[in-house]
Structure formats: C-alpha cells, structure tokens
C-alpha cells in the first residue's frame, strides 16, 4: 500500500514515518512549509518530497489534492497538529475518506487499516478499522522520528491561484521556555488563583522543590498568565514528572490526561467534591492562599532558609 506522509516539519514527518514503520509499501512525503531548508531536511529522510510551498491551509489543500491524484495513496499519515488537521479534513470531505486523530498505533490487515486512538478526552481507547484510502493523524511526540537514510528528490509545488481566504498577518507567540516536560517536579496552577500576581506563590513553591510551573488551559491559553509552553493537557503538553502538585485545578479529563504519566499526583483544592481528588494520590482540602504560604515557610525552614 502506498503511504503519503504530510507534515509541517521534517521532525513531524519523521514521527509519522516511525508510526508506520511496520507497514509495507512505498512512501512519499508532502511538506507543508515555506522553508527550503526544511524541504532538504525532509528529503534526507530518503523519500520523494512534494514541497507545498505555502503557509496558507487552503492553498496547501489544493496542492495536496494534486499530490493525491498523482500518487493515489492507500493511507495518508500526519502528526495531529492544527494546520495538518485543517488541510486533511478538507481532503477527507472532498473525497469522502475516513479520518481519525489521536492515533497511537497503526497496522494493516485483510485490506483494512486497523488503528488505536484515544477518545473521550483520553478517558478511553478506541480500536477501529477503516477502508483504504484513509487518513490517520498520530499523537504528536509519541513516536521517535526515524533517522534519515538516503536522499529523496524534491518536487516544488507553488499555489496556482490566489486562495479565497488570505493571510494578512502572522504574529509569533511569546514562549517562556519553561521546559515542564523535563522537570522532576511540576506545580500546576488553575483558575483557583484569583490574580496573576498570586502565581508568585506557585513559583516560590516550585523553586523550593527544584521544579517548574505549568498551568491549566484557562490560565495559559485564555488568561495568558503563563506562556503557552506551560499549558498542560491534551491540547497543551504531556508531562511525566516524579511529582505533580495541582493547585486550584478542578481535574477536568482534558487536563488530567496531560499528567497521567506523573509518578505522584498531589491535589490542593478548597472544594472537597472537586473531581481532581479522584485522580490524585494525595489530596488536601484547603484554600491555596492559606496552605501555600505555610508549605513555603516549612520548606524554607527545612532548608535552613527560614
């Protein structure tokens, strides 16, 4: 079965190629990017690269339709990031192809594409099968990108018409470099914090424990009290520290799925019926404004700083 891999970076393409490593068949790549350097890195993975040279999703979709017609793949794979999801949902609609996201495992058997994916805000795993041609988007950062072997050719594809939806401006987001994925201890802050300044309590606690501060989606994405690289959950980052302390976080499934790899989860919440207590190892029913200063003082005393 021929497989078409779509991605915005050579790294993402490497992850998708790794997700399908046990499936036989030719591979071709479509890179959705305006970077020629990225195109040559992608070609170093060893397969032919169609370079969709645009940043517009509508234009990329139209170019991808041409690649699809030229190659007739039985399977299209990408990492589940936003622009590929946009482009591939359009292709799926045009051709009535099945499409699944959050895929963790792919195989082919009896002419069907068989895959496992997380559903229900990652409370469940769904084992599914689809008729080829099918589109599967794999979970980001789950597969280790394959190492390059050889040199594929690059075919440049430029949009032939002006798309109806035009990009007027691109604004880069400010990221904080919190590196919560690597920290041994993460203090997670939620909407239980009333003011941005109060996050100081979390930073002080994290520092005393040698850890980093992350937050729930409303804190990072909506209120923007933390940069988005500190966003924990299914639509943010997945972390697996030795200790995760959730402070003023209710415990929504979309948040908890991002911390399920933690060794120990501690929850601090003033509402004793908050769902987070069901998903924690240790819970304390307390007002964060009362308990955090006490914990900070006691930790300082232990370190002889008090």
């Amino acid at each position: 079965m021929k497989i078409l891999v779509l991605g915005e970076t050579s790294r993402d393409i490497g992850e998708s190629l790794s997700a399908i490593s046990s499936i036989e068949g030719d591979r071709v790549v479509a890179l959705f990017s305006t970077s020629h350097d990225e195109a040559s890195r992608a070609s170093a993975l060893g397969y032919k690269v169609y370079h969709l040279n645009t940043r517009n999703t509508e234009a990329a979709y139209k170019l991808l339709v041409k690649v699809y017609e030229a190659e007739s793949p039985g399977l299209i794979v990408s990492v589940s990031t936003k622009n590929p999801r946009d482009v591939l949902s359009r292709l799926a609609g045009l051709l009535d192809l099945p499409l699944a996201t959050n895929v963790r495992k792919i195989s082919v058997g009896d002419g069907k594409i068989v895959y496992e994916r997380a559903v229900l805000s990652e409370r469940s795993i769904s084992l599914e099968e689809a008729d080829p041609p099918a589109i599967l988007l794999v979970m980001p950062r789950l597969f280790k990108p394959i190492a390059g072997e050889g040199q594929g050719s690059i075919e440049e594809l430029e949009p032939s018409e002006e798309p109806a939806a035009r990009i007027l401006e691109v604004k880069r987001k400010e990221l904080g470099g919190a590196r919560i994925e690597e920290a041994d201890v993460v203090v997670g802050v939620g909407r239980g914090f009333r003011r941005r300044e109060d996050l100081r309590l979390a930073f002080e606690l994290a520092e005393l424990l040698g850890g980093a501060v992350g937050g729930s989606r409303p804190i990072a994405a909506d209120l923007k009290w933390l940069p988005e690289d500190a966003w924990i959950g299914i639509s943010g980052k997945r972390i697996s520290p030795k200790l995760y302390i959730a402070v003023g976080i209710s415990g929504a499934p979309q948040h908890m799925a991002g911390v399920s790899g933690s060794k120990i989860i501690v929850a601090i919440n003033k509402d004793k019926s908050a769902p987070i207590f069901r998903y924690a190892d240790y819970g304390i029913v307390a007002d964060l404004y009362e308990i955090l200063p006490i914990l900070i003082r006691k930790l300082k005393e232990r370190k002889g700083l008090g």
Binding site: S89, L168, V266
Partner: protein
Amino acid sequence: MGDLVVLVKAALNPELVRSSDGDRLDLDSVPLKLSDIDRNAVEEAARLKSILGGKLYSITVLTWGPASLREKDLRLAVQEALAKGVDEAIVVADDSAVPGDQVLTANIIVGAIKSLGLKPDIIIAAEESIDEGTGQIPGRVASKLGFPYVSFVRKIDVSDGKIIVERDLEEVVEVVEAPLPAVVSVTQEINDPRPPTLIQIRRASKKPIRTLKLSDLNVEPVRKRAIRELRIIKEERKGVVIEAESVDKAADRLLEILESEGILK
C-alpha cells in the same frame, strides 16, 4: 441577508464513562451532553446574528444510539442551544446513522442545508468535540459546499461581506481574511459563555425543533470506519485525602509523605 448555522453535538460525557465488564466501555450507559466547545460556538453565532441579522439554525446529528434511548439527552443539548440564541433547531436522529461515521455526518449536515434550502453566510462549529475529538466536520462541510474555511479561530470581526479572524495555532496567531459565505471553527478561548437564564430556557421551549431522518435528506448511510472495541483507560491512583485538624498539620503530613516517597531529602 443570509442565515447562520451552528453545528451542535450531543456528545458522550467523558466524565461519566462506565464499564460493567472489566475495562470495556459500556457505550449505551454513557450519557450525552452538549459538547463543551459547542457552547462557545453557539455564543459566537448568537453574537454574529446580532450584527448580521438573519435566522440562526442549529444542526445536530445524533451519532450515538439507539435513538430511542437518547431522546432526553438529545433534547436537553438542543434546548441549551435554543436557550442561548438559536432560532430553530434541526435534528437528524436515525438509527441507521449510529454509531456515527464522520463521512456520513458531514453528508447529513450538507444534505440538511441543501434540502431545507438554507442559505448560510457563516457556518460555525467547535474546534473539536469532547468525545471523538477529531475536529474534522467543519473542514469536510466546507469542502463539500466549496466554501472557504478558517479553523481554530479565537476572534471574528465582520465587515462588508467578509470576516477577519485570528487563527490560534501552536506557535503563531494568523490573521486571515475570508469572503462570505464561510465555515469557521472556534476555540474555547473565543468567548466566555454563560449558562442560560431561566427566562431563556422557558422561551426556548417554544422554539421549533425539526426532526429528520436520512430518507428525508436523500443521504445514503455510507460507512467507512468501524469501531471494534472501546476500552476505558484505568488510572491507578491512591486517592488518599489527607485529614488533619489544621491546615498547618496537613502541610506537615504532606511534607512527610513527600519525604517518604523520596522526593524531599
């Protein structure tokens, strides 16, 4: 002046997944609720209606059956959308469309728009649902109708026949201009929807709900994927709530635990 359409899903509630037999999900026992970000979509659609005028329709396709068991959950989800500003709800509840298949769902939505003669200026939907979470329906609908599509939108401005939106991507925000009619998917951050008031709920009960079958729409029940099995992910956690006579004592207890777990030295 055209209409507005908002796509509304009655989704499986992930907070209430249950199993009666090991880790197999007992699908029929999981209740449905209005999918979280659909609230944001309805709120935004109502705001756009206040600017653009026209009539606001919702379209709901039942994707979890059996239809007879889902009537109440489905009605509650649709009524919440009606309470928050939808003028007329279109519901397709048909056992030949469950469990849902996104190829079919998109065909049903487009079939409903065409056969009811709706002329939407904007079709608005959530970035993804809380159950399947694929976010593919708005993109499918856009390419079937040949409309421009802007996804993951956290801000919409309307001005003379076009929209200017902010697409919220992983590393950048893209400002995009699109002509109408268009399909828009919105993120949870686009607004802060409030629950409907009692008066809104009462008014909603008088609004029309039109229930349709596939045969009314001339849509074939095609199916391109099958769910073989659904398993619950079991989270093994200790679930100990530290009881102490004071917050100070509770803090001591927590530090002792962290020490015995080898985290504090």
